[in-house]
Protein backbone atom coordinates (compact mmCIF):
# COMPACT_ATOMS: atom_id res chain seq x y z
CA UNK A 1 0.00 0.00 0.00
CA UNK A 2 1.40 3.33 -1.01
CA UNK A 3 2.23 6.02 1.48
CA UNK A 4 -0.41 8.40 0.03
CA UNK A 5 -3.13 5.78 0.34
CA UNK A 6 -2.12 5.02 3.92
CA UNK A 7 -2.17 8.70 4.82
CA UNK A 8 -5.56 9.22 3.17
CA UNK A 9 -7.06 6.19 4.81
CA UNK A 10 -5.98 7.41 8.25
CA UNK A 11 -7.14 10.96 7.48
CA UNK A 12 -10.56 9.81 6.28
CA UNK A 13 -10.95 7.58 9.31
CA UNK A 14 -10.08 10.44 11.67
CA UNK A 15 -12.32 12.86 9.77
CA UNK A 16 -15.22 10.41 9.68
CA UNK A 17 -15.00 9.76 13.43
CA UNK A 18 -14.61 13.50 14.04
CA UNK A 19 -17.59 14.41 11.84
CA UNK A 20 -19.89 11.85 13.43
CA UNK A 21 -18.88 12.78 16.99
CA UNK A 22 -19.11 16.51 16.28
CA UNK A 23 -22.43 15.98 14.47
CA UNK A 24 -23.95 14.12 17.39
CA UNK A 25 -22.77 16.62 20.00
CA UNK A 26 -23.68 19.60 17.85
CA UNK A 27 -27.08 18.27 16.96
CA UNK A 28 -27.98 17.84 20.63
CA UNK A 29 -26.56 21.25 21.57
CA UNK A 30 -28.31 22.99 18.71
CA UNK A 31 -31.61 21.34 19.60
CA UNK A 32 -31.23 22.49 23.19
CA UNK A 33 -30.29 26.00 22.07
CA UNK A 34 -33.20 26.23 19.67
CA UNK A 35 -35.58 25.09 22.40
CA UNK A 36 -34.07 27.55 24.86
CA UNK A 37 -34.37 30.33 22.31
CA UNK A 38 -38.00 29.48 21.63
CA UNK A 39 -38.74 29.44 25.35
CA UNK A 40 -36.99 32.76 25.80
CA UNK A 41 -39.11 34.22 23.01
CA UNK A 42 -42.19 32.78 24.71
CA UNK A 43 -41.16 34.46 27.98
CA UNK A 44 -40.73 37.82 26.23
CA UNK A 45 -44.12 37.42 24.56
CA UNK A 46 -45.75 36.62 27.90
CA UNK A 47 -44.12 39.60 29.58
CA UNK A 48 -45.28 41.82 26.72
CA UNK A 49 -48.81 40.44 27.10
CA UNK A 50 -48.68 41.26 30.83
CA UNK A 51 -47.49 44.78 29.96
CA UNK A 52 -50.38 45.21 27.52
CA UNK A 53 -52.80 43.95 30.17
CA UNK A 54 -51.48 46.44 32.72
CA UNK A 55 -51.66 49.28 30.22
CA UNK A 56 -55.25 48.37 29.40
CA UNK A 57 -56.28 48.13 33.05
CA UNK A 58 -54.59 51.33 34.18
CA UNK A 59 -54.92 53.60 31.15
CA UNK A 60 -57.53 52.38 28.68
CA UNK A 61 -60.21 51.11 31.04
CA UNK A 62 -60.63 54.42 32.93
CA UNK A 63 -61.03 56.25 29.61
CA UNK A 64 -63.78 53.90 28.52
CA UNK A 65 -65.57 53.84 31.86
CA UNK A 66 -68.38 56.16 30.76
CA UNK A 67 -68.78 54.43 27.40
CA UNK A 68 -69.12 51.12 29.21
CA UNK A 69 -72.36 52.39 30.71
CA UNK A 70 -73.87 52.41 27.23
CA UNK A 71 -72.38 49.35 25.58
CA UNK A 72 -69.82 46.77 26.48
CA UNK A 73 -66.40 47.46 24.99
CA UNK A 74 -64.11 44.42 25.03
CA UNK A 75 -61.21 46.81 24.44
CA UNK A 76 -61.42 47.66 28.14
CA UNK A 77 -60.75 44.04 29.14
CA UNK A 78 -57.07 43.20 29.76
CA UNK A 79 -57.47 39.63 28.44
CA UNK A 80 -58.96 40.95 25.21
CA UNK A 81 -56.11 43.40 24.66
CA UNK A 82 -53.51 40.71 25.41
CA UNK A 83 -55.11 38.41 22.84
CA UNK A 84 -55.44 41.24 20.32
CA UNK A 85 -51.76 42.09 20.80
CA UNK A 86 -50.80 38.47 20.25
CA UNK A 87 -52.95 38.19 17.11
CA UNK A 88 -50.88 41.00 15.62
CA UNK A 89 -47.67 39.34 16.74
CA UNK A 90 -48.79 36.08 15.23
CA UNK A 91 -48.71 37.62 11.76
CA UNK A 92 -44.92 37.77 12.11
CA UNK A 93 -44.54 34.63 14.22
CA UNK A 94 -47.21 32.23 12.95
CA UNK A 95 -45.78 29.23 14.82
CA UNK A 96 -46.48 30.72 18.25
CA UNK A 97 -49.94 30.59 19.81
CA UNK A 98 -51.18 32.28 22.97
CA UNK A 99 -53.97 31.46 25.39
CA UNK A 100 -55.19 32.87 28.64
CA UNK A 101 -56.86 29.70 29.77
CA UNK A 102 -59.25 30.38 32.63
CA UNK A 103 -61.15 27.97 34.87
CA UNK A 104 -64.25 30.15 35.11
CA UNK A 105 -64.06 32.80 32.41
CA UNK A 106 -66.65 35.43 31.47
CA UNK A 107 -66.00 34.85 27.79
CA UNK A 108 -66.38 31.12 27.03
CA UNK A 109 -63.63 31.38 24.41
CA UNK A 110 -61.13 31.57 27.28
CA UNK A 111 -62.39 28.47 29.08
CA UNK A 112 -59.50 26.13 29.94
CA UNK A 113 -59.46 22.74 28.19
CA UNK A 114 -58.66 19.56 30.14
CA UNK A 115 -54.89 19.77 29.91
CA UNK A 116 -54.97 23.52 30.56
CA UNK A 117 -57.14 22.96 33.64
CA UNK A 118 -54.56 20.48 34.91
CA UNK A 119 -51.86 23.11 34.55
CA UNK A 120 -53.93 25.71 36.44
CA UNK A 121 -54.70 23.21 39.19
CA UNK A 122 -50.99 22.43 39.38
CA UNK A 123 -50.22 26.12 39.88
CA UNK A 124 -52.98 26.40 42.49
CA UNK A 125 -51.49 23.51 44.46
CA UNK A 126 -47.90 24.78 44.40
CA UNK A 127 -48.00 28.54 44.75
CA UNK A 128 -44.21 28.85 44.46
CA UNK A 129 -44.19 27.53 40.93
CA UNK A 130 -43.88 30.39 38.50
CA UNK A 131 -43.38 28.54 35.25
CA UNK A 132 -44.10 25.21 33.69
CA UNK A 133 -42.50 23.92 30.48
CA UNK A 134 -43.58 20.72 28.81
CA UNK A 135 -44.43 18.88 25.64
CA UNK A 136 -47.70 17.33 24.56
CA UNK A 137 -49.12 15.47 21.61
CA UNK A 138 -51.71 17.32 19.53
CA UNK A 139 -53.55 16.42 16.31
CA UNK A 140 -51.05 18.68 14.54
CA UNK A 141 -48.03 16.99 16.05
CA UNK A 142 -45.95 17.33 19.17
CA UNK A 143 -46.12 20.74 20.83
CA UNK A 144 -43.85 22.53 23.22
CA UNK A 145 -45.60 24.78 25.75
CA UNK A 146 -44.72 27.23 28.46
CA UNK A 147 -47.27 28.21 31.11
CA UNK A 148 -47.32 30.86 33.81
CA UNK A 149 -49.91 31.38 36.53
CA UNK A 150 -52.03 34.55 36.67
CA UNK A 151 -53.42 35.72 39.98
CA UNK A 152 -56.35 38.00 40.74
CA UNK A 153 -53.88 40.59 41.91
CA UNK A 154 -56.02 43.73 41.93
CA UNK A 155 -59.40 44.46 43.51
CA UNK A 156 -60.22 46.19 40.20
CA UNK A 157 -60.52 42.71 38.63
CA UNK A 158 -63.35 41.93 41.00
CA UNK A 159 -65.48 44.76 39.59
CA UNK A 160 -66.40 42.37 36.80
CA UNK A 161 -65.71 39.02 38.43
CA UNK A 162 -67.00 39.17 42.00
CA UNK A 163 -70.80 39.02 41.91
CA UNK A 164 -73.41 39.24 39.17
CA UNK A 165 -75.08 42.12 41.01
CA UNK A 166 -71.89 44.17 41.08
CA UNK A 167 -70.88 43.50 37.49
CA UNK A 168 -71.36 46.14 34.78
CA UNK A 169 -74.78 45.74 33.21
CA UNK A 170 -73.41 46.09 29.72
CA UNK A 171 -71.07 43.14 30.37
CA UNK A 172 -73.99 41.04 31.59
CA UNK A 173 -75.87 42.01 28.45
CA UNK A 174 -73.03 40.61 26.35
CA UNK A 175 -72.04 37.50 28.30
CA UNK A 176 -74.90 36.83 30.70
CA UNK A 177 -74.55 36.19 34.41
CA UNK A 178 -73.73 32.49 34.40
CA UNK A 179 -69.94 32.53 34.14
CA UNK A 180 -66.95 34.49 35.31
CA UNK A 181 -68.05 35.31 38.85
CA UNK A 182 -66.98 34.32 42.33
CA UNK A 183 -63.30 35.11 41.83
CA UNK A 184 -61.31 35.85 44.97
CA UNK A 185 -58.39 38.18 45.46
CA UNK A 186 -55.01 36.41 45.03
CA UNK A 187 -56.64 33.29 43.59
CA UNK A 188 -54.91 31.70 40.60
CA UNK A 189 -57.66 31.54 38.01
CA UNK A 190 -55.80 31.72 34.74
CA UNK A 191 -52.69 30.36 33.08
CA UNK A 192 -50.86 32.17 30.32
CA UNK A 193 -49.84 29.52 27.84
CA UNK A 194 -47.60 29.92 24.81
CA UNK A 195 -47.42 26.88 22.55
CA UNK A 196 -45.02 26.13 19.72
CA UNK A 197 -44.74 22.98 17.59
CA UNK A 198 -41.60 21.04 18.59
CA UNK A 199 -40.92 20.81 14.87
CA UNK A 200 -39.98 24.48 15.01
CA UNK A 201 -37.08 23.77 17.39
CA UNK A 202 -36.02 20.78 15.24
CA UNK A 203 -36.35 22.86 12.07
CA UNK A 204 -34.25 25.69 13.46
CA UNK A 205 -31.64 23.26 14.85
CA UNK A 206 -31.55 21.32 11.59
CA UNK A 207 -30.95 24.47 9.56
CA UNK A 208 -27.94 25.45 11.67
CA UNK A 209 -26.73 21.82 11.91
CA UNK A 210 -26.69 21.29 8.14
CA UNK A 211 -24.81 24.54 7.56
CA UNK A 212 -22.31 23.70 10.29
CA UNK A 213 -21.71 20.16 9.08
CA UNK A 214 -21.31 21.25 5.45
CA UNK A 215 -18.80 23.87 6.58
CA UNK A 216 -16.96 21.30 8.70
CA UNK A 217 -16.89 18.78 5.85
CA UNK A 218 -15.63 21.49 3.50
CA UNK A 219 -12.81 22.32 5.92
CA UNK A 220 -11.94 18.62 6.20
CA UNK A 221 -11.96 18.28 2.42
CA UNK A 222 -9.64 21.26 2.03
CA UNK A 223 -7.41 19.85 4.70
CA UNK A 224 -7.20 16.48 2.93
CA UNK A 225 -6.43 18.16 -0.38
CA UNK A 226 -3.74 20.31 1.24
CA UNK A 227 -2.15 17.37 3.09
CA UNK A 228 -2.17 15.29 -0.12
CA UNK A 229 -0.62 18.13 -2.12
CA UNK A 230 2.10 18.65 0.49
CA UNK A 231 2.82 14.93 0.66
CA UNK A 232 3.04 14.66 -3.11
CA UNK A 233 5.17 17.77 -3.68
CA UNK A 234 7.43 17.65 -0.64
CA UNK A 235 7.72 13.95 0.21
CA UNK A 236 6.47 11.48 -2.39
CA UNK A 237 7.93 13.10 -5.53
CA UNK A 238 11.47 13.68 -4.08
CA UNK A 239 11.45 10.20 -2.55
CA UNK A 240 10.36 8.70 -5.89
CA UNK A 241 13.17 10.55 -7.70
CA UNK A 242 15.72 9.48 -5.08
CA UNK A 243 14.42 5.93 -5.43
CA UNK A 244 14.87 6.06 -9.24
CA UNK A 245 18.44 7.42 -8.86
CA UNK A 246 19.26 4.79 -6.24
CA UNK A 247 17.93 2.11 -8.59
CA UNK A 248 20.18 3.44 -11.43
CA UNK A 249 23.22 3.49 -9.15
CA UNK A 250 22.49 -0.04 -7.98
CA UNK A 251 22.46 -1.14 -11.66
CA UNK A 252 26.02 0.24 -12.12
CA UNK A 253 25.08 3.48 -13.77
CA UNK A 254 27.31 5.94 -12.01
CA UNK A 255 26.64 8.83 -14.35
CA UNK A 256 23.48 9.93 -12.77
CA UNK A 257 24.51 13.40 -11.76
CA UNK A 258 23.57 15.20 -8.57
CA UNK A 259 20.11 15.22 -7.01
CA UNK A 260 18.94 18.86 -6.72
CA UNK A 261 18.90 19.99 -3.07
CA UNK A 262 16.22 22.57 -2.21
CA UNK A 263 15.69 23.94 1.25
CA UNK A 264 16.88 22.65 4.56
CA UNK A 265 14.19 20.12 5.41
CA UNK A 266 14.58 16.40 6.00
CA UNK A 267 14.25 15.60 2.26
CA UNK A 268 17.01 18.14 1.52
CA UNK A 269 19.22 16.50 4.12
CA UNK A 270 18.39 13.08 2.63
CA UNK A 271 19.23 14.41 -0.82
CA UNK A 272 22.53 15.81 0.40
CA UNK A 273 23.40 12.48 2.05
CA UNK A 274 22.33 10.65 -1.10
CA UNK A 275 24.54 12.90 -3.29
CA UNK A 276 27.43 12.40 -0.88
CA UNK A 277 26.88 8.66 -0.96
CA UNK A 278 26.73 8.77 -4.78
CA UNK A 279 29.94 10.70 -4.97
CA UNK A 280 31.68 8.31 -2.54
CA UNK A 281 30.43 5.34 -4.52
CA UNK A 282 31.76 6.83 -7.80
CA UNK A 283 35.13 7.53 -6.13
CA UNK A 284 35.24 4.00 -4.72
CA UNK A 285 34.44 2.53 -8.14
CA UNK A 286 37.18 4.64 -9.74
CA UNK A 287 39.71 3.45 -7.15
CA UNK A 288 38.73 -0.19 -7.74
CA UNK A 289 39.11 0.19 -11.50
CA UNK A 290 42.53 1.85 -11.03
Amino acid sequence: MKLLVKFNLVLFLVFAVGLVTTGLVCSRLLQQNAKAEIMENARIMMEAAIAVRTYTATEIKPLLETQMKYSFLPQSVPAYSANAYFSQLQKKFPDYSYREATLNPTNPVNRATDWESDIIEDFRKSHDRTELVGERETPNGRTLYMARPMKVSSPACLTCHDTVEGAPKTMLERYGGANGFGWKLNDIVTAQIVSVPTQLAAKRAKGVFVTFMISLAAVFALLVIAINALLIFFVIRPVNRLSTMAANVSLGNSDIGEFPVEGKDEIAELSQSFNRMGRSLVEAMKMLRA
Binding site: T66, K69, Y70
Partner: protein, 255 residues
Protein backbone atom coordinates in the same frame (compact mmCIF):
# COMPACT_ATOMS: atom_id res chain seq x y z
CA UNK B 1 -70.40 83.41 24.87
CA UNK B 2 -72.30 84.10 28.07
CA UNK B 3 -75.87 82.92 28.30
CA UNK B 4 -78.71 84.61 30.05
CA UNK B 5 -81.98 83.41 31.41
CA UNK B 6 -84.50 83.27 28.58
CA UNK B 7 -81.94 82.48 25.89
CA UNK B 8 -82.97 80.02 23.22
CA UNK B 9 -80.39 77.75 21.60
CA UNK B 10 -80.74 75.63 18.50
CA UNK B 11 -78.02 73.36 17.17
CA UNK B 12 -77.61 72.52 13.49
CA UNK B 13 -78.11 69.04 12.06
CA UNK B 14 -74.47 68.15 12.69
CA UNK B 15 -73.64 70.61 15.43
CA UNK B 16 -72.90 70.19 19.12
CA UNK B 17 -73.24 72.85 21.78
CA UNK B 18 -71.71 72.80 25.22
CA UNK B 19 -72.92 74.94 28.10
CA UNK B 20 -70.82 75.27 31.22
CA UNK B 21 -72.14 76.88 34.33
CA UNK B 22 -69.95 78.71 36.78
CA UNK B 23 -71.39 76.53 39.50
CA UNK B 24 -69.76 73.52 37.83
CA UNK B 25 -72.52 71.95 35.79
CA UNK B 26 -71.86 70.98 32.19
CA UNK B 27 -74.62 70.53 29.63
CA UNK B 28 -74.19 69.38 26.04
CA UNK B 29 -76.70 69.63 23.26
CA UNK B 30 -76.69 67.10 20.46
CA UNK B 31 -77.39 67.78 16.78
CA UNK B 32 -80.75 69.29 15.76
CA UNK B 33 -81.65 70.17 19.34
CA UNK B 34 -83.67 73.05 20.78
CA UNK B 35 -83.02 74.36 24.28
CA UNK B 36 -84.58 77.13 26.31
CA UNK B 37 -82.79 78.51 29.38
CA UNK B 38 -85.92 78.79 31.47
CA UNK B 39 -84.29 79.68 34.76
CA UNK B 40 -80.73 80.25 35.74
CA UNK B 41 -79.47 81.64 38.98
CA UNK B 42 -75.75 81.75 39.59
CA UNK B 43 -76.01 82.26 43.32
CA UNK B 44 -77.79 79.91 45.55
CA UNK B 45 -79.23 81.16 48.76
CA UNK B 46 -79.53 78.68 51.54
CA UNK B 47 -80.90 75.21 50.95
CA UNK B 48 -79.18 71.91 51.11
CA UNK B 49 -76.23 71.58 48.70
CA UNK B 50 -77.29 69.80 45.56
CA UNK B 51 -81.00 69.93 46.32
CA UNK B 52 -81.92 73.48 45.35
CA UNK B 53 -82.74 73.85 41.67
CA UNK B 54 -80.50 76.63 40.38
CA UNK B 55 -80.91 75.98 36.69
CA UNK B 56 -83.95 74.91 34.72
CA UNK B 57 -83.48 74.00 31.09
CA UNK B 58 -86.19 73.03 28.64
CA UNK B 59 -85.28 70.65 25.86
CA UNK B 60 -87.98 71.07 23.27
CA UNK B 61 -86.50 68.53 20.91
CA UNK B 62 -83.23 66.68 20.33
CA UNK B 63 -80.55 65.45 22.73
CA UNK B 64 -79.17 66.81 25.97
CA UNK B 65 -76.56 65.47 28.34
CA UNK B 66 -76.22 67.16 31.70
CA UNK B 67 -73.54 66.60 34.33
CA UNK B 68 -73.70 68.15 37.75
CA UNK B 69 -71.68 67.66 40.89
CA UNK B 70 -72.73 67.80 44.51
CA UNK B 71 -71.79 71.45 45.00
CA UNK B 72 -73.19 72.71 41.69
CA UNK B 73 -76.80 72.93 42.85
CA UNK B 74 -79.55 70.90 41.29
CA UNK B 75 -80.27 71.06 37.58
CA UNK B 76 -83.69 70.48 36.17
CA UNK B 77 -83.99 69.25 32.59
CA UNK B 78 -87.49 69.34 31.16
CA UNK B 79 -88.80 67.91 27.96
CA UNK B 80 -92.40 67.89 26.71
CA UNK B 81 -93.06 64.47 28.30
CA UNK B 82 -90.47 63.87 31.03
CA UNK B 83 -88.38 65.91 33.42
CA UNK B 84 -85.27 65.04 35.42
CA UNK B 85 -83.79 66.82 38.39
CA UNK B 86 -80.26 65.93 39.36
CA UNK B 87 -78.07 67.44 42.01
CA UNK B 88 -75.21 65.02 41.67
CA UNK B 89 -75.27 62.94 38.56
CA UNK B 90 -75.34 62.71 34.83
CA UNK B 91 -78.48 62.32 32.77
CA UNK B 92 -79.14 62.04 29.05
CA UNK B 93 -82.45 63.38 27.79
CA UNK B 94 -83.95 62.73 24.38
CA UNK B 95 -87.04 64.63 23.28
CA UNK B 96 -88.81 63.74 20.06
CA UNK B 97 -92.25 64.10 18.47
CA UNK B 98 -93.93 61.14 20.11
CA UNK B 99 -92.16 61.03 23.43
CA UNK B 100 -89.17 61.56 25.67
CA UNK B 101 -86.45 59.29 27.08
CA UNK B 102 -84.17 59.83 30.05
CA UNK B 103 -81.15 57.74 31.01
CA UNK B 104 -79.45 58.23 34.36
CA UNK B 105 -75.85 57.61 33.42
CA UNK B 106 -74.39 58.12 36.89
CA UNK B 107 -75.31 59.44 40.31
CA UNK B 108 -78.96 59.90 41.06
CA UNK B 109 -81.91 61.90 39.75
CA UNK B 110 -85.61 62.44 40.26
CA UNK B 111 -87.71 61.63 37.22
CA UNK B 112 -91.23 62.87 36.70
CA UNK B 113 -93.82 63.17 33.98
CA UNK B 114 -94.64 66.55 32.50
CA UNK B 115 -98.26 67.59 31.99
CA UNK B 116 -99.42 69.02 28.67
CA UNK B 117 -99.51 72.46 30.29
CA UNK B 118 -95.84 72.17 31.25
CA UNK B 119 -96.32 71.58 34.95
CA UNK B 120 -94.57 68.66 36.59
CA UNK B 121 -96.27 65.72 38.18
CA UNK B 122 -94.97 63.67 41.11
CA UNK B 123 -91.40 62.61 40.50
CA UNK B 124 -89.74 59.45 41.71
CA UNK B 125 -86.09 58.76 42.55
CA UNK B 126 -83.89 57.07 39.97
CA UNK B 127 -80.53 55.35 40.32
CA UNK B 128 -77.55 55.19 37.97
CA UNK B 129 -78.24 52.94 35.03
CA UNK B 130 -82.03 53.37 35.02
CA UNK B 131 -83.81 54.29 31.84
CA UNK B 132 -87.18 56.01 31.56
CA UNK B 133 -89.27 56.38 28.48
CA UNK B 134 -92.61 58.01 27.90
CA UNK B 135 -94.09 57.29 24.53
CA UNK B 136 -97.67 57.97 23.57
CA UNK B 137 -98.36 59.05 27.13
CA UNK B 138 -97.18 55.78 28.72
CA UNK B 139 -94.23 55.85 31.13
CA UNK B 140 -91.95 52.83 31.30
CA UNK B 141 -88.70 52.25 33.15
CA UNK B 142 -85.96 49.69 32.61
CA UNK B 143 -82.60 48.81 34.09
CA UNK B 144 -80.93 49.42 30.73
CA UNK B 145 -81.54 51.89 27.90
CA UNK B 146 -83.21 50.32 24.89
CA UNK B 147 -81.44 49.68 21.59
CA UNK B 148 -83.30 52.46 19.75
CA UNK B 149 -82.10 55.00 22.28
CA UNK B 150 -78.51 53.72 22.19
CA UNK B 151 -78.39 53.62 18.40
CA UNK B 152 -79.75 57.14 18.02
CA UNK B 153 -77.75 58.76 20.82
CA UNK B 154 -74.96 61.09 19.61
CA UNK B 155 -71.66 59.26 19.93
CA UNK B 156 -69.87 62.01 21.92
CA UNK B 157 -72.49 61.56 24.65
CA UNK B 158 -70.92 58.18 25.43
CA UNK B 159 -67.96 59.99 26.98
CA UNK B 160 -67.69 62.28 29.96
CA UNK B 161 -68.14 65.88 28.88
CA UNK B 162 -64.78 67.65 28.85
CA UNK B 163 -64.63 70.91 30.83
CA UNK B 164 -63.61 73.82 28.61
CA UNK B 165 -64.75 76.80 30.64
CA UNK B 166 -61.20 77.69 31.77
CA UNK B 167 -60.14 78.15 28.13
CA UNK B 168 -62.83 80.73 27.47
CA UNK B 169 -63.21 82.31 30.91
CA UNK B 170 -61.26 85.42 29.94
CA UNK B 171 -63.00 85.88 26.59
CA UNK B 172 -66.22 87.79 26.32
CA UNK B 173 -68.07 87.24 23.08
CA UNK B 174 -71.42 88.87 22.47
CA UNK B 175 -73.67 87.45 19.76
CA UNK B 176 -74.43 89.66 16.78
CA UNK B 177 -77.95 90.12 15.53
CA UNK B 178 -78.22 88.34 12.22
CA UNK B 179 -81.87 88.96 11.46
CA UNK B 180 -85.13 89.53 13.33
CA UNK B 181 -86.70 86.29 14.40
CA UNK B 182 -89.11 84.88 11.83
CA UNK B 183 -92.38 83.18 12.54
CA UNK B 184 -91.04 79.85 11.26
CA UNK B 185 -88.15 80.02 13.71
CA UNK B 186 -90.39 80.94 16.61
CA UNK B 187 -93.30 78.64 15.89
CA UNK B 188 -92.04 75.54 17.78
CA UNK B 189 -91.44 77.66 20.86
CA UNK B 190 -94.84 79.36 20.65
CA UNK B 191 -96.49 75.95 20.68
CA UNK B 192 -94.64 74.52 23.68
CA UNK B 193 -96.58 73.97 26.92
CA UNK B 194 -98.16 77.20 28.23
CA UNK B 195 -96.27 77.23 31.54
CA UNK B 196 -92.96 77.44 29.68
CA UNK B 197 -93.91 80.21 27.26
CA UNK B 198 -94.86 82.74 29.88
CA UNK B 199 -93.47 86.13 28.92
CA UNK B 200 -93.23 85.29 25.23
CA UNK B 201 -96.03 87.70 24.35
CA UNK B 202 -94.22 90.69 25.87
CA UNK B 203 -90.92 89.51 24.48
CA UNK B 204 -91.99 89.05 20.86
CA UNK B 205 -94.85 91.55 20.60
CA UNK B 206 -92.61 94.09 18.78
CA UNK B 207 -92.38 91.60 15.91
CA UNK B 208 -96.07 92.17 15.19
CA UNK B 209 -94.97 95.26 13.29
CA UNK B 210 -93.86 92.84 10.61
CA UNK B 211 -97.05 92.17 8.62
CA UNK B 212 -95.83 88.74 7.46
CA UNK B 213 -95.06 87.69 11.05
CA UNK B 214 -98.42 88.96 12.22
CA UNK B 215 -100.27 87.23 9.43
CA UNK B 216 -98.67 83.85 10.12
CA UNK B 217 -99.09 84.25 13.88
CA UNK B 218 -102.72 85.04 13.48
CA UNK B 219 -103.31 82.05 11.23
CA UNK B 220 -102.41 79.69 14.10
CA UNK B 221 -103.51 81.74 17.07
CA UNK B 222 -105.71 78.91 18.33
CA UNK B 223 -102.50 77.07 19.32
CA UNK B 224 -101.30 79.93 21.52
CA UNK B 225 -104.45 81.78 22.65
CA UNK B 226 -102.58 84.21 24.90
CA UNK B 227 -101.63 86.09 21.72
CA UNK B 228 -105.24 86.74 20.85
CA UNK B 229 -105.40 89.56 23.35
CA UNK B 230 -102.50 91.29 21.62
CA UNK B 231 -103.74 90.56 18.12
CA UNK B 232 -107.31 91.53 18.86
CA UNK B 233 -107.32 93.85 21.85
CA UNK B 234 -110.81 94.98 21.03
CA UNK B 235 -112.16 91.52 21.85
CA UNK B 236 -110.53 91.49 25.24
CA UNK B 237 -111.07 95.09 26.29
CA UNK B 238 -112.70 95.16 29.67
CA UNK B 239 -115.48 97.66 30.27
CA UNK B 240 -114.85 100.31 32.88
CA UNK B 241 -116.90 99.33 35.90
CA UNK B 242 -119.87 101.61 36.47
CA UNK B 243 -119.54 104.28 39.08
CA UNK B 244 -121.40 103.55 42.23
CA UNK B 245 -124.93 104.73 41.87
CA UNK B 246 -125.87 107.73 43.85
CA UNK B 247 -129.51 107.17 43.30
CA UNK B 248 -131.58 104.06 43.16
CA UNK B 249 -131.92 104.32 39.40
CA UNK B 250 -128.82 104.34 37.29
CA UNK B 251 -128.82 106.01 33.89
CA UNK B 252 -126.26 103.46 32.57
CA UNK B 253 -127.33 100.13 31.16
CA UNK B 254 -126.33 97.07 33.07
CA UNK B 255 -123.80 94.71 31.44
Amino acid sequence: MRLRQGDILESSDKGFVQLEFTSGGVVALGPASRLYVFRQSANRSGGKAGSEVTTELILLSGWLKGESSANAGAYRYESPMLAATSGNGTVVVHAYDSGSDIFVESGSAAIGEVSPDGSSRQSSPAKAGQFFSRRSGRLTSASRPDATFLDAMPRPFRDTLPARLAQFASKSVEPKIDHPVTYAELQPWLKMPPAWRRGFVDRFEPRLKDPEFRKQLEAHVAEYPEWDAVLHPEKHRTETPPAPATSSESPLPKV
